[in-house]
């Protein structure tokens, strides 16, 4: 390449002044290579040297310091443990009814973790044992519905957002139609069509109606990420649709979906309890908090405790999941740190 300083003919030529005068900083000509080496590289702490950080790593570090996260995480771990191994927490059979002695007997506070701790319900069954065993239905419904809507909604939103055009138009209109159906009313109608109603029919009904929210979040997130330069750079390298979607777009678009899903989980547990309360979700002999709340409402004057304990368990569970979702949302948003 010719030396361009020679090419400038006249000292008084104003255009010559286009060349920067502060030669210490901007003398491009003749110092090639030297200036390159002058750049100071950010040398990290030798101890932390190989500790690569990512958004998720930072989020985890941030989460561990949040009391809300710690409280909700401990609660959720406990609830999951109860759901998987209810026998560890009570030795009483939740279906054992003793109508002669225990009918609506009041809580016996001295009977720690025993059958009579929370009292007995209208059929003389231990409320404590039923609260423990009822966790499984609620947690199963909550987690399974959340997984199903994340997959379904995520896939629909990703397809709509990535391809755009008429595919987006079709998927978005379908989403709008489903969005217009009220969750509870739709589930009432759907569950009526099922011959047998168990945990899985409730999961299917709620997932079928609940995916729209996540599809919308995912679509918006994918559209934002799709336009970023690193996706364009991937296309310029010749990357195919699969690589662009799953290596570039998905990891950068998933954060808001996870947050919304975590918060929605509490809502699905409530929806299951509501459906059971209305007599259309789970039914006796399935043990669930919603079923127990429903049967306790008939005796609320004589035995308010029969309503209180399953309702409290439900509230604590929903609160734990919503708090977790909140904490995760804050941790994933660097601006809120």
């Amino acid at each position: 390449m010719p030396d361009r300083n020679d090419a400038i003919p006249d000292d008084h030529d104003p255009l010559r002044n286009i060349q920067p005068t502060d030669s210490d900083h901007l003398d491009y000509v003749g110092q090639q290579g030297m200036a390159v080496e002058q750049e100071t590289l950010i040398e990290p702490d030798p101890v932390k040297r190989e500790q690569a950080r990512s958004l998720w790593g930072d989020a985890w570090r941030d989460l561990r310091r949040r009391p809300i996260f710690l409280i909700s995480a401990v609660l959720i771990l406990l609830l999951v443990l109860i759901a998987i191994f209810p026998g560890l927490f009570t030795s009483t059979d939740p279906r054992a009814a003793d109508l002669t002695n225990n009918y609506l007997r009041r809580p016996d506070w001295s009977d720690f973790f025993g059958a009579g701790w929370f009292g007995y319900d209208g059929q003389g069954r231990s409320i404590y044992a039923r609260v423990i065993y009822g966790a499984r239905a609620s947690i199963t419904v909550g987690i399974c519905v959340t997984l199903a809507v994340t997959l379904l909604g995520g896939l629909a939103g990703m397809t709509a957002g990535y391809f755009g055009g008429w595919i987006d138009a079709v998927i978005s209109r379908i989403t709008d139609i489903f969005f217009g159906i009220p969750l509870l009313l739709g589930a009432l109608v759907l569950l009526n069509a099922f011959a047998t109603r168990n945990v899985w029919s409730v999961v299917i009904a709620l997932a079928f109606l609940g995916w729209t929210q996540l599809a919308r979040v995912m679509r918006g997130s994918v559209i934002t990420v799709k336009q970023s330069d690193y996706v364009v750079a991937g296309r310029a390298l010749g990357a195919g649709t699969g690589r662009l979607m799953f290596r570039h777009i998905l990891p950068n678009a998933i954060a808001p979906v996870i947050v919304v899903a975590t918060i929605a989980l509490g809502g699905y547990i409530t929806a299951e309890a509501t459906l059971s309360f209305l007599g259309i979700g789970l039914q006796d002999p399935t043990i669930s908090w919603g079923v127990d709340i429903s049967s306790a409402q008939k005796v609320i004057r004589q035995a308010p405790f029969a309503l209180f304990f399953p309702a409290a368990a439900l509230s604590i569970t929903v609160l734990a999941f919503i708090m977790l979702g909140d904490a995760v949302r804050d941790a994933l948003d660097p601006k809120l740190r």
Binding site: I8, Q19, G33, A52, V232, A233, G238, A239, R247, N252
Partner: protein, 360 residues
């Protein structure tokens, strides 16, 4: 002797194949003819009707020579970046042709397009958004090898990535770091390394230094020049900073409202501009020396750039040009050499009244 050894073209590695079709220096490697990119403007919600088009690039022709740097300058919105995207096949061209070594590439799709992408790569403007924040530097620079596995065998990839980091002046040990652990200049080096990975012949730089500090700009520019010599690269260098373009370019093209208004060697453009727009653009360059600043004659253009959806008839610059006459409204000036020009002023200029400025 094996059959392989007996073949006249014993080229086995991609590099040797590339050498076999080497274009000599000074020959056009990329020929762009009447390239047009219109973005349709639509009306209606259900039944969309095209009511017009934003003429982002409207009939641009130029050649990029082997081993040269072609600078493209122009103000914001004149179509520089769209031109780069169309050349990269990131946006489909509305019409016109782009030939790489004589082969039409603007309408390629699928594997043929993927093969051409190996030879034309891009460096992006913003080093903060052009690197995937969830991928390590090793993954980012190694991705070209995953997409084009024939360039580097699987076992050699880590080594190849470290070599590239070394070439662009970064510590090869940084391979497991994430982009946010680097400064802007270092990130742009990562972007350059990614562009170099496939050993391309052409690199389109879309304002590669405008997001960087002035001192870091110099380092990146020097790196680009060093790499040009090492790898025999041809650059198309898009920028709005005239001094950087003057420094790095062999030839310069000036764009206005989707058209190339003047093109020539850096000396011809910077010291012997004949198009009024180029003259106005150059007169607006900041001058650090106060005495020189007083003595020079600034051209202040009146009005705004017309809308690219509805450009003026004839010459597009006529609405802001002090030389404009009735002919300019009627006739679209061609980008050619005018008969009456002499010396260095004899270069392509799209003005009916092309002439050098009298007081320089």
């Amino acid at each position: 002797m094996t059959i392989d050894g007996a073949t006249p073209l014993g080229a086995t590695t991609p590099e040797e194949v590339a050498f076999a079709q080497e274009v000599p220096r000074g020959e056009p490697i990329l020929e762009v003819r009447k390239l047009v990119k219109h973005f349709p403007l639509t009306k209606g919600i259900l039944f969309k009707k095209q009511v017009g088009a934003v003429k982002a690039v409207d009939g641009v022709s130029f050649d990029l020579m082997q081993g040269e740097t072609l600078g493209i300058v122009g103000e914001s919105g004149c179509g520089k970046s769209t031109l780069a995207k169309v050349l990269m096949n990131l946006e489909p061209a509305t019409s016109g042709s782009v030939k790489y070594k004589g082969e039409e590439i603007s309408k390629l799709t699928g594997s043929a397009l993927k093969a051409v992408r190996r030879n034309i790569q891009m460096v992006f403007q913003d080093p903060y958004t052009s690197l995937n924040p969830r991928m390590t530097v090793g993954d980012i620079i190694g991705e070209p090898f995953e997409i084009h596995p024939e360039v580097a065998p699987k076992g050699d990839r880590r080594k190849a990535v470290q070599d590239l980091l070394d070439v662009v002046g970064l510590n090869p040990e940084y391979i497991n770091r994430y982009p946010h652990q680097f400064s802007g200049g270092q990130r742009q080096r990562i972007g350059i390394a990614r562009g170099l990975a496939l050993k391309p012949e052409i690199i389109i730089c879309d304002e590669p230094v405008s997001a960087l500090d002035v001192s870091v700009q110099a380092q990146v520019i020097n790196l680009l020049e060093k790499l040009q010599g090492e790898f025999n690269l041809s650059y198309m260098f898009i920028a709005h900073d005239l001094s950087i373009v003057r420094h790095i370019s062999d030839r310069v093209g000036v764009m206005y409202l989707g058209r190339m208004v003047e093109i020539g060697s850096d000396l011809e453009i910077y010291d012997h501009a004949t198009h009024p727009y180029t003259q106005a653009l150059l007169s607006a360059v900041p001058v650090p020396d106060p005495t020189a600043r007083e003595s020079r004659d600034r051209i202040v253009l009146v009005g705004d750039v017309p809308s690219p959806a509805n450009p003026p008839s004839g010459c597009r610059f006529r609405t802001r040009c002090w030389k404009a006459q009735e002919k300019c409204e009627r006739e679209d000036p061609a980008l050619t050499v005018r008969d009456w020009l002499e010396g260095r002023a004899r270069h392509d200029s799209a003005c009916h009244f092309a002439a050098e400025r009298e007081n320089g």
